[in-house]
Symmetry: C2
């Protein structure tokens, strides 16, 4: 419907209908042809939008794919099970499940592939990862409030470790079992010193 409607430019604001049409076109192209068929040109044609419009509102291919990724499925929310270990393990399992279901994993893989050939896309991808720290930060804050850990944990490092680990699984196509997710949570919470002392058993 939206694809055939005539849309009026509204100047310096992005027309919401244009956004919907562009994202829908991007989704269709990814679903039918994958990353090999995905180009700004193809999306513009499919969405009946101008290429300059797309370049104006999205930061190239990776920016458009990241917007599509976020609009495809709900973000992974922080959980609060009362145990930081369960929250961290659950976060990892939910993230990998999310990538395995729907098209989210394929779209995110396409973002990463694009980021390897284009510097602007690489920056957009780096910014996106850095922005994900809020969820983990919330889980750690809750653990501090519960008195489970004292304050002072390095959230940036925690965020880097968990997102790096999830990325590695996505990119190499390996699954993540609940048991593995628990073992990873053990290491980031108690360290390998804690493990070898049996603290997390």
């Amino acid at each position: 419907m939206i694809k055939t409607a005539r849309r009026k430019s509204i100047g310096s604001q992005r027309n919401p209908e244009t956004r919907i049409a562009v994202l829908q076109a991007a989704r269709d192209i990814m679903a039918n042809g994958g990353i090999a068929k995905f180009s700004i040109e193809a999306v513009a044609r499919e969405a009946r939008a101008g290429k300059p419009t797309i370049y104006k509102w999205w930061n190239g291919k990776a920016g458009l794919l990241l917007d599509l990724h976020q609009s495809t499925a709900p973000e992974i929310e922080a959980t609060n099970t009362g145990s930081l270990r369960e929250d961290i393990a659950g976060f990892l399992v939910n993230l990998i499940d999310h990538w395995h279901s729907d098209d989210a994993g394929d779209i995110f893989r396409a973002v990463i592939a694009e980021a390897q050939v284009d510097q602007k896309s690489r920056t957009a991808f780096g910014d996106y990862i850095a922005g994900r720290r809020a969820v983990l930060s919330g889980m750690v804050d809750a653990a501090v409030s519960r008195g489970e850990i004292s304050g002072g944990a390095d959230i940036d490092v925690l965020c880097d470790i968990l997102s790096g680990l999830a990325l590695q699984r996505l990119l190499s196509g390996r699954d993540l079992s609940v048991k593995e997710a628990g073992a990873i949570a053990d290491v980031v919470i108690d360290g390998i010193v804690g493990q070898s002392n049996g603290a997390s058993l």
Copy 2:
């Protein structure tokens, strides 16, 4: 030189000259045109080898790129500074430096991009990462021998965490400072509990 020599097939063994010619051709194509110009066809033409020969001895594009990556620069060796923290931080810094210098980072990025569009390449990439655990395993064993930590650390998880973190930096183009590498080593050794208790200060 090797490129123009006539090479005799030696049957079920790979001709070492063919290997050198193919890797040299792959390196030239990556250096001049990058991943966009890299194909088995282009490598075969440049190396004066048959495509079937390349497919016989290498597991597709990613397999060839991984072989090129390993032949381009020496592997990161385990260090033994007498401190597991220094060894882990040094390993991360050396790995990122290695990727930033020479063509190693570009080649590895190409491996990852290829692994996103092809299942066989994804498996080759996953196997390669799993194979890297020996270096970290050596560092942890040395720490156990020194009595720095007791045995029982989950080396697989440690390996996953550190390689995931390095991958994330490579893929998003972010640097890794010595300070950050130390902070990461603190978390994997003492955990965020250890951090918040000041154990690693």
